[in-house]
């Protein structure tokens, strides 16, 4: 049992232990270091070419069953490789690679795609790669200070189809997108394995604050979707207020919104929470998925795919 195990706040345990299949495995996973992983940037290289180079370096990498471009690499020096220098790989947490994959079938032919909360650009660079640098990808972020990192990462990745905007998504110009990614700002409980400071500011009040913002964002993001378009809503947190309740709110506010089932062959995804705080969610919400940290040795995540 790790030293941090005892530092998990009691209210946190009380909230989430009843939601998981294996309380002990869940809590102990939170104290374990997260394995490092990277994604091959297909704008600059290929998984086979990178794998060959890492073999020569003597750095062990493991393929990821649900994504050909991803590798687990438990050598922190991977960031000092020629591949990282040239932007051929992008150090990225595995679960953070999931949202763009939900719309990967439409991305090669998409004309307009929006990443609503883009900085620092992990998922944006992935979207650009999946679009093959074609079409137009609008990478928006409300925070001016984070735009610089977003720009740096997009340029390093060799993204040519991007437009970076610095706006509050809720006040975004009325446009129509073929696909929208809303990886919403959240209380980030699922990133505890790489950042224990999450617990320093964690509180139920904090969760409520984010939930209010997310409910506004998801409705606006849906309104920006062209008929027939697809949207991904994702967070890296466990709180049902920020996940199921947000999607439930969208379904109430926009009757033309419907969810699509999600499967990732080779990745264990779990069902959603059916009710929380006495509120029962629409059965449609159950098409979304949760990724618990102890199931795939990753961070925690929530994903919903919405169609218009």
């Amino acid at each position: 049992m790790s030293a941090e195990y005892g530092r998990i706040p009691e209210p946190f345990r009380a909230r989430y232990c009843p939601l998981v299949d294996d309380e002990e495995a869940f809590l102990s996973s939170l104290g374990r270091r997260l394995p490092k992983s990277f994604r091959v940037n297909t704008l600059k290289s290929s998984p086979a070419a990178v794998a060959e180079r890492f073999l020569v370096y003597g750095i062990g990498i493991t393929p990821v069953p649900w994504y050909d471009d991803a590798f687990v690499c438990d050598n922190p020096d991977a960031g000092f490789s020629l591949e990282h220098f040239t932007g051929a790989i992008y150090m990225q947490e595995l679960v953070s690679m999931l949202p763009p994959l939900l719309i990967r079938d439409i991305l090669p032919d998409a004309r307009m795609v929006l990443d609503g909360c883009a900085a620092p650009g992990s998922k944006t660079t992935q979207l650009a790669a999946l679009m093959g640098n074609r079409g137009t990808l609008i990478a928006n972020d409300v925070s001016y200070s984070r735009i610089r990192a977003l720009k740096f990462n997009l340029e390093k990745a060799g993204a040519l189809n991007t437009v970076i905007t610095n706006r509050d998504l809720c006040a975004f110009t009325n446009m129509q997108f073929d696909a929208v990614l809303l990886d919403a700002p959240c209380s980030a409980e699922g990133t505890i394995r790489k950042n224990w400071e999450v617990f320093d500011t964690w509180s139920a009040r904090e969760v409520q604050k984010y939930a209010r913002i997310q409910k506004q964002l998801i409705v606006k993001a849906f309104d920006l979707l062209a008929p027939g378009g697809s949207m991904v809503y994702s967070t890296c947190t466990f709180a049902p207020e920020e996940n199921e309740a947000v999607v439930d709110e969208l379904l109430k506010m926009r009757p033309d919104a419907r969810l699509e089932p999600i499967t990732f062959p080779g990745l264990k995804a779990s069902g959603t929470v059916a009710a929380w705080d006495g509120v029962k969610f629409s059965p449609e919400v159950s098409k979304a998925v949760r990724i618990w940290p102890h199931h795939n040795d990753t961070g925690g995540f929530f994903l919903a795919k919405v169609k218009k």
């Binding site: 704008l43 600059k44 370096y57 750095i59 020096d77 991977a78 000092f80 490789s81 020629l82 990282h84 220098f85 040239t86 932007g87 051929a88 004309r111 074609r134 079409g135 137009t136 990808l137 609008i138 735009i147 720009k151 740096f152 997009l154 340029e155 390093k156 060799g158 993204a159 040519l160 189809n161 991007t162 437009v163 970076i164 905007t165 610095n166 706006r167 110009t173 446009m175």
Partner: protein, 158 residues
């Protein structure tokens, strides 16, 4: 001699032609490589290569990728040479492992006489094997490193 900071008043179409001409003449980059994109002229002579259709909307921070600065002459960016480097057919130099490590750190690289033979003074592409690393400025046999500070790295695996 042109004073630093001054720039010509020039239309986006003219700029595009000037950049494409330079890239083809200097590096052998065929204009067709750029046909799916559009060039955008920003302040201080900065040229971005971005999507053909960019929405007309407020609060745009950047469109596409910074490919060059024009201040009388054209200065290609490291990002451009990393993206298009594999199509470059001239004024590129293949570095030894030692030279590549020095270049990645941001230091000036000393080229051998044999490496210098096919190169003309001006901006050159620095390559390691097939991997385009970035931009150098060749002047009278010396190469000045053009790698932006944020990109410099002490490589351990090459």
């Amino acid at each position: 001699m042109r004073r630093k900071g001054s720039s010509e008043t020039i239309s986006p179409q003219d700029i595009s032609g000037k950049i494409l001409g330079y890239l083809e003449e200097r590096f052998g980059l065929h204009p067709d490589l750029f046909k799916d994109y559009r060039m955008y002229l920003a302040s201080k002579g900065r040229i971005y290569l971005g999507p053909r259709s960019a929405p007309d909307m407020p609060k745009i921070a950047t469109i596409g990728l910074l490919i060059a600065r024009v201040n009388g002459s054209v200065k290609p960016s490291t990002n451009l040479l990393q993206v298009m480097g594999r199509h470059v057919t001239k004024n590129d130099v293949e570095l030894t492992k030692e030279q590549a490590l020095i270049f990645a750190k941001g230091q000036d690289v000393k080229l051998s006489p044999a490496q210098l033979i096919p190169l003309r003074d001006g901006y050159i592409l620095m390559r390691y094997q097939t991997f385009p690393m970035g931009c150098g400025l060749l002047q009278l046999g010396n190469v000045k490193n053009q790698l932006p500070k944020a990109k410099r790295l002490d490589l351990r695996f090459i």
